[in-house]
């Protein structure tokens, strides 16, 4: 595993850039555990200070250091986003592959559920769930709700890939060789599905961050907890863009973009590494 990582780092420029970006931002986010002040405290610093040697990314109109706010915000937002992505990927992969491989009644049953979920409008449902849960709506619950809404389209995609693999030669071989269904799915088919998972994961992560920001901007989130959406919410409350406090919004957005690019580069390079087709084409025949 370490060797693979080293090889990827040394020999794949995209991976190296992606890795540096992602790890860099991860470390930056991790740093919030050592922040010199609690991330919910306000007016401990002079407000509205532009970026300077003392406050690298400036301070907010609430007297907070943008640097440390961002650190916490990225951590919390990524935690949310990745939770959504991981849960929804698991659901999509399981439903998609089982549905595609088993077919028949299972397929019909699962795809009916799937199609029902596809037809549900995300934002209204999330808002409604927030209203119902209100105080007990912690971020993990929100993440779970978002995950439940965010897997269905990709499950269809994965199903179609699995469907095409079902009739391939190697699947028949595996069946004759006495492999069980989970074994076939995991060992034989998963590598083909992996690229789909990576790419849908990227879109899903962006979608999840978008959900977080949307709910925050509309004021439906826990504003005590610094997140990217929470920072935008507060900046908005203080009319930061109009008042010229651009650093309050610009730096978090830049961080999100960099993180996204990092993850994207990681996804395409890792994808290339494990994609059976591109591996075959590399080997020659």
């Amino acid at each position: 595993m370490l060797k693979v990582l080293r090889d990827l780092l040394v020999y794949n420029r995209e991976f190296a850039i992606g890795f540096v970006l992602t790890v860099g931002i991860f470390l930056f986010a991790l740093a919030h555990f050592w922040a010199p002040m609690p991330d919910s405290a306000i007016y401990l610093l002079p407000p509205d200070m532009p970026p300077s040697a003392q406050y690298w990314f400036g301070t907010t109109s609430r007297g907070q250091d943008v640097l440390w706010q961002m650190s916490s915000a990225i951590w919390n937002t990524m935690l949310f986003g990745l939770t959504v992505t991981v849960i929804s990927r698991l659901l999509a992969v399981i439903v998609g592959m089982v549905s595609g491989y088993l077919g028949g009644r299972w397929d019909q049953f699962l795809m009916t559920i799937n199609d029902t979920m596809i037809a549900l409008p995300n934002i209204p449902i999330l808002l409604l769930v927030y209203f119902v849960m209100r105080d007990s709506m912690s971020w993990p619950v929100l993440a779970a709700t978002a995950a439940l809404l965010g897997w269905n389209y990709d499950a269809r995609l994965i199903r179609s890939v699995t469907l095409s693999l079902r009739n391939r030669e190697f699947t028949r071989h595996a069946v004759f060789a006495g492999m069980s269904v989970p074994q076939i799915l995991v060992r034989q088919h998963l590598p083909y599905v992996m690229p789909v998972i990576f790419f849908t994961a990227m879109n899903n992560l962006i979608w999840a961050i978008g959900i977080e920001v949307t709910l925050s901007v509309l004021g439906f989130s826990d504003v005590n907890r610094p997140t990217i959406g929470g920072m935008i919410y507060w900046a908005n409350q203080h009319q930061a863009i109009i008042a010229g406090i651009w650093w309050w919004i610009a730096f978090p957005i830049i961080a999100v973009v960099l993180l996204f690019l990092g993850l994207f580069l990681l996804a395409i390079s890792v994808n290339e590494y494990i994609d059976p087709r591109s591996r075959l084409s590399r080997m020659g025949a």
Partner: protein, 635 residues
């Protein structure tokens, strides 16, 4: 090559998309004849029935410009000047035991369709609403009115079910009131609740010109016969504003931009930072309530820290006082309004007439007020808070901040409670609390934590105030978390689904010292058990025998009696002693005016009308505005 061709095509499309000429801002209406006011996003744009549920508080100009009723109070005014007889020719006349009210109406007032306004319209308004329980003022009429008589076409006599010296307030506009219905229109309608009243018949100087079906704007036009209205009769010259445009100008950022682009003359409210931006970038073309910092217009409402008296330990006065003394009000003023707050120690907003009636006379009492902390007596009042806040904002605003303490008191408030952590500790100990490390423990040994509910988005300055107070309490050992309730805020206050909240349960006439506006509902008769909905406005569910006695006494004195002020002071002293909620400040609204096209807006120096565009009083501002002679020529 393919790519190059595509890029060229994209550029060509983009070039075509760039608008050749920008359009006029309003089609067909000269900009210099129109006053543009921030309006709501009306969902029910084609509905102009003011008497259906919710209809009376629409803010698209309908009630502000076309409705009228018997009397008006200018919330910014003082003394007799604050009172206006509108449709009524005189003040209300009660009989001795306040069971009958007689009103004389003005003559020569006409509806915009040419039908004359008479006493029959007033009677019809009351009778129809009693007959239709869903209508807006049906409930108060049903409770109060036995019958309405019309002895002649200009006289109305209300026979009341029981004595009520404040019955006339139903017809007295501060924000709004029971509007008079056009009898000749509604009597042809089968169901007055289902009637859209589109187009509305106007009883005031302006009439509907056109409106957006999508609810983004409504345009009102000066009536040709504007003189045949209660407001027009009082004018010597025709109003210069020919059109009033209520437009939904979008989010706060868009509002600021629109005003700086001269597309929005009157803003209802924006964040302090937006206000400061306008003051910085567009000072030459903008007017404010105060001619400089703090700019804001104080509404006669009193944002406070509300305690739920039915939730332990907030029934304990010592706990409430301890929490009050933990607050550093300077930080709250800076944190909520960036210093631009009008602080209030008394339970009435420091605006309008209450300054001369209550705040100034009671300063000595406040300064000498002593509080028993259990171990000693303290005098917690600090009359120098205004100067302290001024010192904090002077680095940013410099010369705009005067040094005269009297002026500062008008800007920043008369005084507040000094932060006194030692006294707070003593009070909590007196209440049986103990301190474990930096954590206060309740008498039962569990940690004392607080959930502080704020609204959030729509009232951002108060959410900020709540946040800073929560932080101060937390630092002193009472873990306090902010609970942003959003649109459920109002609904959670009702059934008492909160511990502590930022909200307001005190609103006053502003232009009249009578406190019955809110005080009537504070009577213990109306207290509900937790979970049941408490009628507005005693949302803190405060009960006190002394309070009941005050309210009962107030019911028996006439609206204009000097006793009203005396009872008001008694109430205010009681509220200081008991600290049922912690008054913070007036609800300051940042409502800048664009002076490019219009001048003569009301201000602290000339408070002839309310400035909030959602207040019906605004009509008195509109007819008083003067066209700016140096406005850009008509397009």
């Amino acid at each position: 090559m393919l790519i190059k061709r595509l890029a060229a095509a994209a550029l060509a499309i983009a070039a075509m998309a760039v608008p050749a000429v920008a359009q006029d801002f309003i089609a067909g209406i000269p900009r210099n004849e129109a006053l543009i006011i921030q309006g709501p996003a009306a969902q029910n744009a084609e509905w102009f029935n003011l008497w259906a549920p919710g209809g009376g508080s629409t803010t698209n100009g309908n009630q502000q410009l076309s409705a009228d009723t018997l009397w008006w109070i200018n919330p910014e005014g003082t003394g007799d000047a604050a009172w206006t007889n509108a449709l009524a020719a005189d003040k209300p006349q009660y009989n001795d035991d306040f069971t009958q009210m007689t009103v004389k109406l003005k003559e020569g007032i006409f509806w915009s369709d040419g039908v004359e306004f008479t006493a029959d319209d007033v009677k019809y308004t009351v009778d129809t609403q009693i007959a239709h329980p869903g209508m807006g003022w049906s409930a108060p009429f049903t409770v109060n009115v036995e019958s309405v008589e019309v002895p002649d076409r200009n006289t109305v006599v209300f026979n009341l079910k029981e004595p009520n010296s404040r019955f006339h307030t139903l017809f007295t506009v501060r924000w709004n009131a029971a509007w008079i219905m056009p009898k000749h229109v509604f009597e042809k309608v089968e169901d007055p609740l289902a009637y859209s009243a589109n187009p509305p018949v106007s009883l005031s100087a302006y009439v509907l010109h056109s409106y957006d079906k999508a609810g983004n704007w409504a345009i009102w036009k000066l009536r040709d016969d504007w003189q045949r209205t209660s407001i027009g009769m009082g004018l010597t010259e025709a109003p210069e504003v020919k059109y009033v445009v209520y437009r939904n100008a979008g989010n706060p950022d868009a509002r600021v931009i629109e005003q700086m682009n001269h597309n929005l003359d009157v803003i209802n409210d924006i964040a302090p930072e937006g206000m400061f931006t306008i003051a910085r970038d567009a000072a030459d073309t903008t007017a404010y309530w105060f001619d400089g910092f703090p700019f804001a217009h104080p509404d006669p409402t009193l944002p406070s820290v509300l305690f739920n008296h039915q939730v332990a330990p907030f029934e304990n006065k010592d706990v409430r006082w301890a929490l009050a003394l933990m607050i550093d009000i300077r930080a709250v003023a800076m944190g909520s309004y960036r210093g631009a707050a009008n602080l209030a120690a008394l339970s009435t907003p420091p605006t309008g007439t209450s300054i001369t009636d209550y705040y100034e006379p009671m300063q000595d009492w406040l300064t000498s007020f002593t509080l028993d902390t259990g171990t000693r007596q303290i005098t917690p009042y600090d009359p120098t808070v205004a100067e302290q806040v001024a010192a904090l904002v002077r680095p940013q605003w410099g010369d705009q901040i005067p040094s005269d303490p009297e002026q500062l008191k008008r800007m920043f408030g008369f005084g507040w409670w000094k932060q006194d952590l030692q006294a707070a500790t003593e009070l909590l100990q007196k209440a049986g609390f103990t301190k474990n490390g930096n954590q206060w423990m309740k008498p039962d040994g569990t940690p004392f934590t607080i959930k502080l509910m704020v609204e959030g988005d729509n009232i951002p300055t108060l959410a900020r105030a709540g946040t800073i107070i929560a932080q101060q309490w937390s630092m002193e050992g009472i873990q306090t978390t902010i609970d942003v309730a959003g649109p459920t805020w109002g609904q959670r206050l009702g059934p008492g689904d909160f511990q502590v909240a930022i909200g307001w349960t005190v609103e006053t006439w502003g232009g009249h010292p009578d406190l019955s506006f809110f005080l009537e509902s504070y009577h213990s008769d109306f207290i509900k058990p937790l979970g049941e909905i408490q009628p507005p406005r005693n949302l803190q569910r405060w009960t006190d025998e002394r309070l009941d006695a005050l309210i009962e006494a107030n019911r028996k004195v006439s609206f204009d009696s000097p006793e009203v002020v005396q009872l008001g002071m008694d109430y205010l002293k009681l509220a200081v002693e008991e600290m049922p909620f912690i008054p913070l400040m007036a609800y300051n609204k940042f409502a800048p005016f664009d002076t490019t096209y219009w001048t003569g807006y009301p201000s602290a120096a000339n408070p002839y009308a309310a400035s909030g565009p959602f207040w019906s009083n605004l009509r008195y501002m509109i007819v008083a505005l003067e066209a700016n002679p140096s406005a850009p020529a008509a397009q």
